[in-house]
Symmetry: C2
Subunit: 323 residues, 2 copies
């Protein structure tokens, strides 16, 4: 079957996420048709495009773009007419999402993917009332949508593999990196990770250990600089020295038993250890350890140069005082 | 009192961390004297310096540096003689650290700070056997030490505020961003945050939800790109749109009750809410919301340019396959 071509996308709901999708899709040269009942919606979309466009242009990310290909319409029916892909971005309440998805499903051509930007709801529940539930998926982006490449694709019980594949193809078309979450769980993958860190941070604040700026600094000064390109596993794979994750896991494995966070870890069985060590090796691919280290260092130096230019042009900008 | 000048640093223990300190200090023009009983130690330090130096030079971070100011010695006594600052980097076992710190304390001039690179042990326990425990602090760095600026300073019951201050001054002297962890807790701040995320990741792997490369991708494609310069709080402050963290916390606060991670969150009292909202405002400082958004976008575009150059020069390098 020939790959679908994408010319027009329908966005249902504006807000931070819908406005971000509009900006990304316009920058990629698509026609964007958006509907949202809020009186502020149109202004918010305009404002987002206005602010983001110069950055995207400077970064060479709006080369095929055309800001004028945007149309605001009054109804869902008008929005989805002629759409090659539909992205829903209404408030994160299950009953609202279900109702809106039913309306979209009613009016949209039956072979068009309907993706929900939900950040945590279960697709099986969202798709239940649709006539063609096979084309309903989660396509969960991260703000700002026009710059962050990750989008988590999650199918429900009734979603077809073909529609998952098509969603992936569309997201790649607009410059994103789709990640298929193969098992339907609440909050998917990235938000579960973010949420666990957030919950620990809340405990630290609640227990009077640290302030918000201190906790943010503890991320941005160290682990966070690595997380821009290496997840925890790859970071600790390299952090273990030439022994890699195999060494790290032996050295710090026992710490999983310690009260080093409010969360209880799973037991570190041999099976789990092997999954982790082999996973790091898969992720490293053909690259040698020393090559990865060198690339990591080049990235860390380059990232900090970018930040010193744009984020903290003055030496101690935003860094918490020591006393 | 005149600020101490720093000319010579003693490093006790090599490994990934000690070698990293050596590299950073040499790049900043200090004399470095290191001791480590392992037969591989010297080669590891040389290798680290060898690999890192060109990156540091290219990044303009080794301007005052001199690689030849390095000396390897046989004993702790020789290493600490004439040192203006002492950093201990032996294996992360409490009894080893205690024993080594006692030896350092025995030979070092009594007014010199002794900092331990421990990533989680309690300073009150580490300093207990020292003659001059007031100068024993934790100075916890992040790998690679020669590029990551964060260092957590933690004092024990017997540490003096003056020695905390001096440690901060030394770390700033070598280009770092010291963060004073005001309450002594195991694993301090950054590793508690990392550990909570790691534990959730282990659950996801253990439950068969995702693989190591998928989990790493879920970080690097979205949240991690922000974490290079904004902690969770600042990221969600901006992610909430013009309403900021006040809006985000109202919208996603209820999710804290959901099983969105294996960790139980603290109750979101008004007091805790206010600490968070006010913390985000403190962290924002004089910068307007739209200015922060613009700076964030410039950083995200710049970081991704760096990564496309050094981390994944080929389009889908290291990204997990969708099926």
């Amino acid at each position: 079957m020939a790959e679908k071509t994408y010319e027009q996308i329908a966005l249902i709901g504006a807000g931070v996420i819908g406005s971000g999708w509009a900006t990304r899709c316009l920058a990629k040269g698509l026609r964007v048709v958006l509907t949202d009942p809020s009186p502020d919606a149109r202004a918010q979309v305009d404002q987002t495009i206005e602010n983001a466009w110069p950055v995207l242009e400077d970064a060479g990310l709006a080369g095929q773009g055309d800001r004028t290909k945007f149309r605001f319409v009054e109804t869902i029916q008008e929005a989805v007419e002629g759409a090659d892909f539909i992205q829903e971005n209404v408030p994160e309440r299950e009953h609202i999402k279900i109702e809106v998805l039913e309306a979209i499903d009613r009016y949209a051509a039956e072979d068009v993917v309907i993706a929900s930007s939900s950040s945590g709801l279960l697709p099986s529940r969202l798709q239940a009332g649709c006539r063609y539930p096979d084309r309903v998926v989660i396509g969960h982006p991260f703000a700002p949508v026009y710059l962050l490449p990750l989008v988590e694709i999650v199918g429900g019980e009734k979603t077809s593999p073909e529609m998952i594949r098509r969603a992936g193809s569309f997201y790649r078309h607009v410059g994103m990196r789709p990640l298929h979450v193969r098992r339907e769980i609440e909050a998917y993958i990235a938000d579960r990770l973010q949420e666990s860190l957030y919950r620990e941070a809340l405990h630290l604040i609640n227990d009077g250990v640290a302030t918000v700026p201190e906790i943010d600094a503890a991320v941005t000064g160290g682990p966070g600089l690595r997380w821009a390109f290496m997840g925890t596993f790859m970071a600790w794979h390299l952090g273990g020295g030439p022994g890699g994750m195999r060494h790290t896991i032996e050295q710090f494995g026992p710490a999983l038993e310690l009260p080093w966070s409010h969360m209880k870890a799973p037991q570190l069985t041999d099976e789990l250890k092997n999954k982790i060590i082999e996973g790091c090796e898969t992720e490293s691919g053909d690259r040698q350890f020393t090559e990865l280290e060198r690339r990591r260092d080049l990235c860390l130096a380059g990232i900090q140069k970018v930040l010193s230019e744009h984020w903290y042009p003055h030496d101690q900008d935003g860094w918490p005082e020591m006393d």
